[in-house]
């Protein structure tokens, strides 16, 4: 089960509303490489992970991703909470506003709603951990792109923090893949699914 602590893993305090920045950053809420997809990916994949140490790592990283989802939600709500109708129209936030007002909805910057089609849970530890490594890299690139597009230090600070977490998670998943490989049957040269054997 899960607990909730009433604090952000990293603080967010944005003074200046900015609908344009919110339109971009929302991709890390519900976009293809966003925090929601990251969390669901790891928390779903762990059920097929035979190595308890790696299942534990997926649980811990999947949990941290939920804390990151909350940080992105905090950024979005602080960026959009005090916008005037004029600013909403001028900054092109009207197409979001019409459906969600200034509520936080999981979608990509392009407007595509969050879909589980963004992720995979293959039931094969080697395939899943390789996906996880790619997912962390893709999320890191998305944060790099966000950092190229925003200039408010109040936004940059928590985004940099989240970017650094992707790098650490990538490192840990790399080690986890090594742990799974080390336990493979020595006759399994091609690293076929160690979680399910065809007879």
């Amino acid at each position: 089960m899960w607990g909730y602590e009433k604090r952000l893993q990293y603080p967010v305090n944005i003074k200046r509303p900015d609908a344009r920045a919110a339109k971009i950053i929302i991709s890390q809420y519900g976009g293809p490489d966003g925090e929601l997809g990251a969390s669901l990916r790891y928390l779903s994949q762990r059920f097929a992970m035979p190595d308890d140490r790696v299942a534990g790592l997926l649980t811990d990283i999947g949990t941290e991703e939920l804390a990151h989802l909350e940080i992105i939600g905090a950024i979005l709500t602080q960026l959009t909470g005090r916008l005037s109708t004029d600013e909403i129209i001028k900054e092109g936030f009207d197409t979001y506003f019409v459906d969600h007002t200034v509520g936080v909805y999981p979608q990509a910057a392009s407007g595509v709603p969050y879909t589980a089609a963004f992720m995979q849970s293959k039931g094969d530890p080697i395939a899943d951990l390789n996906e996880d490594l790619a997912a962390e890299q893709k999320a890191r690139v998305t944060y790099d792109n966000i950092l190229n597009l925003v200039d408010d230090p109040d936004i940059i600070d928590p985004i940099r923090y989240l970017r650094q977490r992707e790098i650490v998670h990538y490192q840990r998943f790399g080690e986890a893949l090594g742990m799974v490989r080390d336990k493979l049957d020595r006759k399994n040269y091609y690293a076929y699914n160690p979680a399910f054997r065809n007879k």
């Binding site: 607990g3 909730y4 602590e5 009433k6 604090r7 952000l8 893993q9 990293y10 603080p11 967010v12 305090n13 944005i14 003074k15 140490r53 534990g56 790592l57 811990d60 990283i61 941290e64 909350e70 939600g73 905090a74 709500t77 602080q78 909470g81 650490v168 998670h169 840990r172 080690e175 986890a176 742990m179």
Partner: protein, 88 residues
């Protein structure tokens, strides 16, 4: 220092020590035999327990399992963590 500044300062110390523990937890998941990291984790845990206890006594619980009930239901008394400082 006023009450809000003190609360923020204490919360920021809790956030810092918690982050070190979050980081060490992931490291230990893949390096379970690392004695130095285990020691560092245990030290932070001791520090965090004391800070959380102080925070809970002064400003209410961060965790619903530890809500103080002596003066009624305080769990939803504190501002939600995504609120801007200026709006609290």
């Amino acid at each position: 220092m006023n009450g809000r500044d003190d609360r923020e300062e204490l919360l920021s110390e809790i956030n810092e020590v918690s982050f070190v523990m979050d980081e060490l937890r992931l490291f230990l998941d893949t390096h379970p035999g690392d004695a130095e990291a285990i020691d560092a984790f245990a030290q932070r845990m001791e520090k965090r327990t004391a800070l959380v206890e102080e925070y809970t006594d002064k400003y209410g619980s961060l965790d619903a399992y530890f809500v103080k009930t002596a003066y009624g239901w305080s769990w939803n008394g504190a501002p939600m963590p995504w609120k801007r400082r200026a709006d609290c």
